[in-house]
Symmetry: none
Subunit: 162 residues, 2 copies
DNA sequence: GGGGGCACTGGAATATTATGCAGTGACTAT
DNA sequence: ATAGTCACTGCATAATATTCCAGTGCCCCC
């Protein structure tokens, strides 16, 4: 393995994807192999398969230009990335507790925290999540499955820690 | 040949590309082979190589979604395409001379040409370019590097020829 | 009519991207 | 400790896209 796997405080997949977004915004990247070389130059040792998967998750589109192909961030990708950052700020701030049953997650926040958190959460558009409804201090999250619910709860708890 | 080549009143490449746009807007097309089948269904007998070229000319991007790949005409692609076309019109019209040093390019235009050219230029958003400032007949372009400057100058000269 | 140039195309060769599979470390529950 | 998930990754390969090359028809000029 080129990089240690997920672990708090370590370089994560998410960090790498952030680096990818920065590179792609700054330079005209035309192929995954080229992107790979640029990443290696910045200290990321990563294989092409992983990049294919990263680009997919980041929703980076490959668009044809006069100077050949180029990967560009779709507005949506930028938006969800923004929302993710917002969530990481808001959750530690407002998180109270989380629980769930079946496909449902109930996230309790401090008073008044549900609306802003839910707004960011919706925009973040997690694949496991169908949608959410927010009151004043409670958010109901509807997941795609019970397994999805478990992943969502774990992820929320992790983000809430800061 | 599957179709008659360019000729007045006959089905042209442009017609086919129009059909491609319609299909792609209506359905989630994930590969060129799939698009080819759809076109055949509408009476267009065309090879995959040609589609690759068409998609390139139409600036259709291949974006990853949860349900696999899909070709779309992104707003951004459309926008920069407009800017590119505008630039190709304006440059031959207003170009006077171009020079540069370090990361800077100085583009001289005929009187009053700097503003419209710079507007199109900015929207075109070349990856090599950080930004530009325009006066009445001069545009200062700030590039990412000296190498980028050279590419930019070459490209500008080429476009200016018409 | 006979080039020569041009725009366009398909098939094959090539380049690039997506994915099945297996392996790894972290974590959890038993 | 052991077994079972899970998230993540690279390698090998399948799937897909791009490019090279040769061929065709049209048009213009001699």
């Amino acid at each position: 393995m080129s990089r240690p796997p997920m672990s708090l405080g370590q370089p994560t997949k998410r960090d790498r994807q952030k680096a990818i977004l920065e590179i792609v915004e700054a330079e005209a990247v035309g192929s995954q192999e080229e992107l790979r070389r640029l990443l290696v130059g910045r200290g990321w040792d990563v294989g092409q398969s992983t990049l294919s998967r990263d680009l997919h998750e980041l929703r980076l589109a490959r668009v044809p230009t006069d100077d050949g192909m180029r990967y560009v961030a779709t507005d949506q990708a930028v938006e969800t990335e923004h929302a993710r950052a917002a969530l990481e700020t808001l959750l530690p701030q407002f998180f109270d507790r989380v629980d769930g049953v079946g496909e449902l997650v109930v996230l309790h926040t401090l008073a008044g925290g549900a609306q802003p958190v839910a707004a960011a959460f919706d925009t973040a558009a997690w694949p496991d999540v169908l949608g959410s409804v927010a009151g004043d201090d409670t958010i109901l999250i509807i997941c795609r499955s019970a397994a999805a619910r478990e992943r969502v709860i774990r992820k929320l708890e992790k983000m809430a820690e800061g």
